[in-house]
Every structure is written in C-alpha cells, then in structure tokens.
C-alpha cells in the first residue's frame, strides 16, 4: 500500500497537527519538548482532551443498566466507539469487537479462555523472536500449565522474520501462531497475511499483536485473515486503560468467558448461569466508559488525516531518521536499516554508551526517547545487546525533531568523550 502512495500524495499539515497537541508546547528545562516516545504512549490532541471532559460534563453514567437519559446516552456513545472500531479495522461485525484495558489484557483474555480450552499436552504454539512480553509471557505460562511446546520463528541479523524454515516451524501440531504485526523494538512490519495462510493451512489459528501497527497504518483484519487482533488506545491518541480484542465471531462464540460478574450474564440462578451474547460475554463489570467514549474522537482525528497518509508520512520520516542516525560514528541501528516494510520505531545502540546514559543526556536537551529492554528481553538476547535506545515517531514529529535528536547525539558523544 505504501508503494502506491507517492511522495506528492502525502498531505499532512504538520504545523496544524503540532498545534493540536498542547503538551508539545511544554518546555523541559530550557528546551522545547521533542517527544520521540510514541511507541510507549502517544500524546493527545486537544479534541481528545476536550472529549474526555465533555463526557464527564454531559453524559457520565453507567452503561447498559439504567433506563434514564444519561444511561442511554452513555451507552450509545460507548457503542458508537465499538461501531467505529469495527469499521476502522476493516469492516468487521460489532459483536467481534471486545473492549479490554489494553493489548496486554486482550492477549491474556485469549490465553486464558481460548488457550485453556484448546491447548493440550504436546500442542505447539508458535511465537517469534521479536515478541513484546505481552505476547510472550501469557503463551509461555499457558504452555507450562498444559505441557505444550513453544516454537519460535527466528529473525535475521537485520531484524526481519526468517521464514526459510517456516514449514518445519508451523506444522499440523501447531494450534496457534501469535506474532506481532509490527515490532516495538525493531520497527519491522511482519507479513501477517502470509503467516495467516500458513497457519490456517495447518489448522492453526493466528493472533496478531497490533499495538504498534494499528496506530500507524491502515489495518484490515479481514484481508489479513487473522483470528485475533489486539491493540491499545493509548498508543493511538486515545486514553490509557482502553484496548481492543478483535476475534472472529465463530471462535468467540465457542470461547468461555474471562472475567465473571455483572454485564456478562444472561440469566443467573444458583444452579444455572447462561452467558450474555457477544461481545458482552467478555465485558464483565463496569468498563472504562470515559476512555472508550473518548477513543472515538481519537479515531476520528486519525481518519481525518487518513491512515494511508499517516503511514506514508511516517515512512518518509523514518527514512530521514535512519539516514541521519547512520551518519553518526559508532551508532548502530538495531533493526532494518531502510524504511521498507518498517514503521517508525527506531532502536539504536552506541558502541561506547549505555542506552540509559543516552536517554538521560537527551532528556537534558528536552528530548524524550525510551531506553531499556522494551519488554523484549528475549529479543535483546538475540541481538546480542542488553538494551537499546529507541526513538519512535508519530504524526506530530517532523524533520526538525530528528535534527534536534541528531544534534543532541553529537553533543552527547562529545560530553562523554567519545567524539
């Protein structure tokens, strides 16, 4: 899809966008904030901040319960976001969209419901060598409980999935392939559609972790033909504490519920309980209503720019960033060194400096990046490092931000005596 979008098609009014984010006007000591940590969580535009306030000023109440005006309006607003998401991820049924607290909970929900019911001794679960702990720990623990086997798709030295031996990794013993759509460390965009085809051919299901893809590009879960897709609102201009699990209706129907309590039941007596219809079966208790309602505004904001546009713009800025960073002696990019099939999570290491020193120094210049193992300790090991520094881009970043990063990195090497 990015191949179809040429440079002149990109219509992004970066100054307007920057102005929409009040926090970007903040000074960090004597410097203007340069926020390059959107992979961890994004900033919020004023529309989203206002929508949150508006919710509490106008319609705050519990949903699916009361018969009064506020309850009805809150319920409608909550369900409007669900409908919006169903459209946003490719036109799925609303009953296939489940609200969770985030990607982590979405994946745990699958592990504890579908996983508990369907994984038995000797079954195989296929992961990759670039998974976030959120898409690794739940499966490793499930495999432990069930005496199942974890297999991994390896990665190449430049941070792509190595599919050479895929036919011996995904086999008829495979019950599930759980893979990240876009790596939060390497930026790599993985061929989910191809993996889904291989998984299905072998009778396995596939779950894609979309935490880093859904914010940055058009996502079509039907075209990819994934069985489960998980993502978080806070990484795409929305509030924290809201996430989504998409699942195919026929699979969700057969899954037992996760949390038990109010809202997820149909009839309750002491000897017989029946579950509510989808998606409510998986939404026990009072959810993050304000967050879900606000998320709708975030999605609209993104759509007004256009997901194609966002992806094209970020691809271009990623290329610019990689090019700049590679000009610095001793700096190594951990992940693809080009912007093809890759997003704007750009990890780097310095031959002489620990990522924490890099991060602390950059912070003194007002530049926010992330340093550490990025919840991907197994990946760090594979890359032969203990931690990386990561700059991650979003729609409110521009070349000036990258130039500031570049200048600060040059100043840093001087400061620590590694010119």
């Amino acid at each position: 899809m990015n191949s179809k979008t040429t440079e002149k098609d990109i219509v992004i009014d970066i100054q307007k966008i920057k102005n929409d984010f009040p926090i970007l006007k903040r000074q960090i000591r004597d410097n203007k904030l340069v926020y390059l940590d959107s992979g961890a969580s994004t900033q919020k535009p004023i529309e989203v901040i206002n929508a949150h306030t508006e919710y509490f000023n106008q319609i705050n109440s519990n949903i699916h319960r009361g018969l009064h005006t506020l309850a009805e309006e809150a319920t409608n607003a909550y369900e409007k976001t669900r409908t919006h998401i169903a459209k946003f991820i490719g036109g799925v049924k609303t009953c296939e969209v489940i609200f969770t607290s985030g990607t982590t909970e979405s994946i745990n929900m699958v592990a504890y419901t579908w996983g508990e019911a369907n994984i038995s001794e000797g079954d195989e679960i296929v992961l990759t060598d670039m998974e976030h702990h959120a898409n690794l720990v739940p499966w490793v623990m499930l495999a432990k409980r069930k005496n199942a086997i974890i297999k991994r798709i390896p990665i190449t030295d430049d941070g792509r999935l190595d599919l050479d031996d895929i036919d011996s990794i995904i086999t008829e013993k495979t019950k599930l392939v759980a893979v990240t759509h876009m790596s939060n460390v390497l930026g790599t965009l993985n061929p989910i559609k191809q993996l889904a085809e291989i998984a299905h051919k072998n009778g396995a299901l596939i779950l894609a972790d979309g935490a880093q893809s859904a914010p940055h590009m058009p996502v079509d879960v039907l075209d990819m033909d994934v069985d489960f897709f998980a993502f978080s609102a806070h990484k795409m201009l929305g509030p924290t504490g809201v996430g989504v699990l998409y699942g195919k209706e026929n699979i969700l129907e057969k899954m037992p519920p996760f949390n038990m309590g109010g809202e997820m039941i149909s009839e309750v007596s002491f000897d017989r309980i029946t579950w509510a219809e989808l998606p409510h079966k998986f939404e026990a208790g009072t959810p993050n209503i304000a967050g879900v309602v606000t998320f709708d505004t975030a999605l609209t904001y993104l759509e007004n720019i256009g997901m194609e546009n966002i992806h094209a713009y970020e691809t271009k800025l990623t290329a610019y960033t990689i090019d700049k960073l590679l000009q610095i002696d001793g700096l190594k990019i951990q992940g693809p060194n080009n912007s093809i099939n890759r997003g704007g999570a750009i990890s780097f290491t310095d031959k002489n400096l620990h990522p924490h020193d890099i991060s602390t120094f950059l912070d003194s210049k007002g530049i926010a990046i992330r340093a550490g193992h990025h919840c991907a300790q197994t990946l760090m090991k594979r890359m032969g490092t203990i931690a990386t520094a990561r700059a991650s881009l979003y729609i409110y970043n521009d070349e000036a931000d990258i130039d500031a990063l570049y200048d600060a990195l040059i100043a840093m090497r001087k400061y620590f005596g590694h010119e």
Partner: protein
Amino acid sequence: MSENLDDMYREIILDHYKAPRGKKPLEDKNVTSDGHNPSCGDELRMELKVDNKNNIADVHVNCKGCAISVASGSMLAEFIKGKSLEEVKAISEQIKKMLKGEESTITEDIGDLDSLKGVRQFPVRIKCALLAWVTLIEGVDKFEGNGTDSSSTTSTE
C-alpha cells in the same frame, strides 16, 4: 527528571567511567561475586583477595553497564583496597544510605565517592550506583559465611 545533568555526570564520575580502576582480573583471589540489574542489563563481576588479617589486599571490578554503574564500581575498587572487611562493610552500608537519601553518619573523608551523591536527583539511576556496593556486600557475606573461596550472584532489584 533532573535539575542538572552535570550534577550527576560530575567530572570525577566521567573520569572513573572513562578509565575504570581495578580493571585487571586477579590471579590470586578468594571471593568472586556477580551482580546485575535486570532492568538496565548492567552486569558486574567483582573479585577480591582477602588476606589472612581480613584485609582486602586486592580487588578487581568489571562492569558492563552505564556510566554511573561503571564509575561507582571503579570508585569502589579504588576505595576499598587495603581496608579491613569490617571497614568495608561499614562504608558499604553508609554509601547505600547516602544514595538512598537516608541519613548517613559518614565522618571520614570518602574522597571521590562523595560525588555519587548527585545521582540522588535521578531516582531511576540510583540502582546503577548501588550495583557495585550490593555486589560487594554479598561477596563479603558469602566469604564470612564459609571463609573459603566463595561465589555469589546478586541483583539490586
């Protein structure tokens, strides 16, 4: 986070970071202690030669980590050489208190070690400065526990 970068990366700290003391592994040693910070990935190996009067005759520190953990390890190597185990234990506890911002009762001149105080303004980095000291305490404890060659692994988290 910080008020001033130079408060943490003081000149003395950068000096130790650029040229860590105690780099040479010991041929004759009776304590080996490994420490690590899983969240930073910092790893530190410490070797001690304790003589028969319970004094530290020699010390080796090898730290793979950030400037603060390397500098702290280097200062430790410089400071504890020639001191008795009792002195070393006491000063380690004091340094721990100093770094955590608790009241310490250091009266002697601790030289370069005083510069580690600046780290207190950067709470997430305190454990980096602590790594060498907890590794030392662990090593000494083990040594006193069995009195022969002792190896141990410890973590600051």
